[in-house]
């Protein structure tokens, strides 16, 4: 996996680069936004990590130029600003995710991985996590080499959750994303569906954690980075 990191603080750029490389990823680093569009045209990157507060053109402008040349690369914004407005603005002009400084390394890596995974799923129409693989075209899933049988409802719920690995998902979100569920049966139905999925996925090291009173969280049993 190849990442382009745009960060003008030399120390932070250095440590972030090392952190990303520790995951076995290839990282190129630049301090300014101006050359970014050209770099993306010339080389194939899987992820752009972009600081907002840059000397010269800022991260927003850089992102705008990247998107205006039609690049679909997933973009993770790093910013020292935490205003909702900034967040909304970044997402509006085409960022895929957003991290506020100071962030935990584990969070950066998890977000980077999730973004890349999602973008790869867009190209290959395949969702992957640990040994789980979901082919979105064929609507078929495998655990390793073993086919995994899922009901239509389980398929909907799991594919929805697979797009949000590591994120908290509200029950209401699962309901509204699933066809054919009416509001009255929801809570119970979701719980039943989740417990069936749990039984099927846990042997493969995939965990669905319950967030009491709120929803669920899909994660791999052994986190990639321990902090």
């Amino acid at each position: 996996m190849r990442i382009l990191l745009v960060e003008d603080d030399a120390t932070l750029a250095e440590s972030t680069t090392r952190a990303l490389r520790s995951q076995g990823w290839v990282v190129d680093c630049t301090a300014r936004g101006e050359p970014v569009p050209l770099s993306l045209r010339e080389d194939r990157y899987d992820l752009l990590i972009l600081d907002i507060g840059l000397a010269g053109i800022d991260g927003f402008e850089t992102l705008r130029r990247v998107r205006s040349q039609g690049s679909p690369i997933p973009v993770l914004i790093l910013t020292a600003r935490d205003g909702v407005e900034d967040r909304v603005r970044g997402l509006e002009i085409g960022a895929d995710d957003y991290l506020v400084k100071p962030f935990a390394l584990s969070e950066l890596i998890a977000r980077a991985r999730a973004l890349v995974r999602r973008s790869q799923a867009r190209f290959s129409n395949e969702l992957k996590m640990a040994s789980l693989r979901m082919d979105l075209d064929a609507r078929r899933a495998w655990l390793g080499e073993e086919p995994l049988s899922l009901s239509a409802r389980e398929w909907e719920v799991l594919s929805f959750m697979m797009a949000r690995i590591g994120k908290v998902i509200a029950k209401e979100q699962i309901v509204s994303a699933s066809n054919g569920w009416d509001q009255s049966t929801t809570d119970n139905a979701v719980e039943v569906c989740i417990s069936r999925l749990r039984a099927k996925l846990e042997p493969a090291g995939i965990q669905i954690r319950t967030v009491r009173g709120f929803g669920y969280l899909l994660e791999e049993q052994a986190p990639a980075v321990k902090t």
Binding site: T11, R18, A80, G83, D97, K101, A104, A170, R212, G213
Partner: protein, 476 residues
């Protein structure tokens, strides 16, 4: 002297009034006395003139007969001469040698010397009564001889006149001075009213509200207003600069702190001496604490920089808690903490970034102090007609006697550990108060742990509320 002595203790009103009163205290008695004397002297002169007229009338009765001076007055004439409606009138005509020619013997007693044509008026005591005596010298008989004609009357008329005069002058002056005092007080009161209004207006200014004073004022006060407005301007610039500095400093701190944190995390990941592990963990905690402090300073600067009611809108505390869930659940799970939610709709009027900061602080505190294995519950709903948000944990809690203290800035609980700055609860309380709410600390369920409860006024039911059951993460 007087100015100095009074200046310190008296109000402007009192001073003005005093300065008005003092001349009045001198002028009123002096004026009364002068007026009284003037009128009295005039009336005395008029009455004396009456006596004199009688004396002049008498002088016509002196005749010389065979070289002897005689005065013949008929009983009718005598009655006419003595007629007075109020006082008793006496008269006497004296020959040059002093013997009585006519009239009442008793008037011969006082020794008065007058030349021809001369008048003398005096008060005398005769037979136990006070008399006003007029004496007129008249040439009579041989050349150079002077007869005296004396006319006297009792003083009943004069006494009552004087009394009436005293009352009249006294009452007039009293009314006049009362009127003056009232008018003076009113004038001072009215004249100083713009100052009163000005001070009320200045009283309303504080660091959040430093707009210039603009109400109409008298010319004399304008320089003061101008000076105050310049002062406000400087103050505003100064607090603005201070807030900018604080925000900027806090903001600038984030990048190096991120870098530091990343380095420490990398060091923890890479092969290292086991003895370094606790050190690295402590370092990481310190960095987290600094980062948190920077964030809180930034929030404080921003909340101080905007007036309390600016930018408020209707939002649902449930949505706020849902956002917090996204941020905090992964971290809580990492820390071995069960973070759960009991959420119902609770619309309030608020500035969202401040309430987010508040909730952030409460959850951060709970996660940091409750410890591994703890259970934290974020609860949102409506209780007793107020919106309620509470964060309850099963940690060590805070003893009742320390609860007041932890709500002050930079005070941490005595048992505090972890990455608290001592600002969290104080900021939370400031935010609660600025939204017309309260923040109370209590025990968690079964008397264990800590429960921090925020209550806020419910937003008007008619107000539009975003009614999405939960906000969808924008990234998805």
């Amino acid at each position: 002297m007087l100015n100095k002595a009074l200046g310190a203790s008296l109000s402007l009103k009192q001073r003005l009034f005093l300065w008005l009163l003092m001349p009045l205290l001198l002028a009123v008695p002096a004026g009364s006395f002068a007026l009284y004397t003037l009128i009295r002297n005039t009336t005395v002169a008029w009455l004396d003139q009456g006596l004199g007229d009688t004396a002049l009338a008498l002088s016509n009765f002196i005749r010389t007969h065979d070289g002897e001076l005689i005065v013949e007055i008929s009983g009718q004439t005598d009655g006419a001469l003595r007629f007075d409606r109020v006082d008793r009138v006496y008269y006497m005509v004296l020959a040059p040698q002093g013997q009585r020619l006519a009239g009442d013997m008793m008037l011969g007693e006082p020794h008065v010397t007058v030349t021809a044509g001369e008048w003398d008026f005096r008060d005398v005591e005769l037979d136990g009564q006070t008399l006003r005596l007029s004496t007129l010298g008249v040439a009579c008989g041989v050349v150079g001889n002077v007869c005296q004609i004396r006319v006297a009357e009792t003083t009943t008329k004069r006494t009552s006149l004087r009394r009436d005069l005293l009352v009249a002058v006294g009452v007039t002056m009293l009314l006049l001075s009362t009127g003056l005092v009232l008018a003076g007080w009113l004038a001072i009161h009215q004249g100083l009213r713009p100052l009163g209004e000005l001070s009320t207006e200045v009283e309303r200014r504080d660091l959040d509200r430093l707009d210039p004073l603009e109400q109409p004022v008298p010319n004399e006060v304008r320089p003061l207003i101008a000076a105050l407005n310049r002062l406000f301007e400087r103050l505003r610039a100064a607090t603005g600069a201070q807030q900018d500095f604080l925000a900027n400093a806090a903001h600038q701190l984030r990048t190096p702190l991120t870098s530091l944190r990343t380095e420490i995390e990398l060091a923890l990941l890479e092969p290292h001496d086991d003895t370094l592990e606790p050190l690295l963990q402590r370092l990481k905690n310190s960095v987290d604490r600094s980062a948190r402090l920077a964030q809180q300073m930034l929030s404080m600067a921003r909340s101080d920089a905007t007036p309390p009611h600016e930018g408020q809108r209707v939002l649902d505390l449930r949505d706020l808690a849902a956002i917090a869930a996204e941020d905090w659940v992964p971290r809580a799970l990492d820390a071995g903490i069960d973070l759960g939610f009991e959420l119902e709709s609770a619309p309030v009027m608020a500035r969202s970034f401040l309430l987010r900061e508040l909730l952030e602080n409460l959850i951060h505190n709970a996660v940091n102090y409750a410890g591994e294995g703890a259970r934290i519950t974020v609860r949102v709903g409506v209780r007793d007609g107020r919106a309620m948000l509470e964060v309850e944990d099963t940690g060590p809690g805070i003893p009742p006697e320390d609860r007041g203290r932890v709500l002050q800035r930079f005070q941490r609980g005595p048992e505090a550990k972890g990455s608290g700055s001592g600002l969290g609860l104080a900021i939370a309380q400031d935010i609660a108060i600025s939204h017309g709410g309260t923040l109370t600390l209590g025990e968690g369920a079964h008397g264990q742990g800590l429960r921090v409860r925020l209550t806020l006024p419910l937003a008007a039911p008619s107000a539009p509320v975003a009614s999405a059951p939960a906000p969808l993460p924008p990234a998805c």
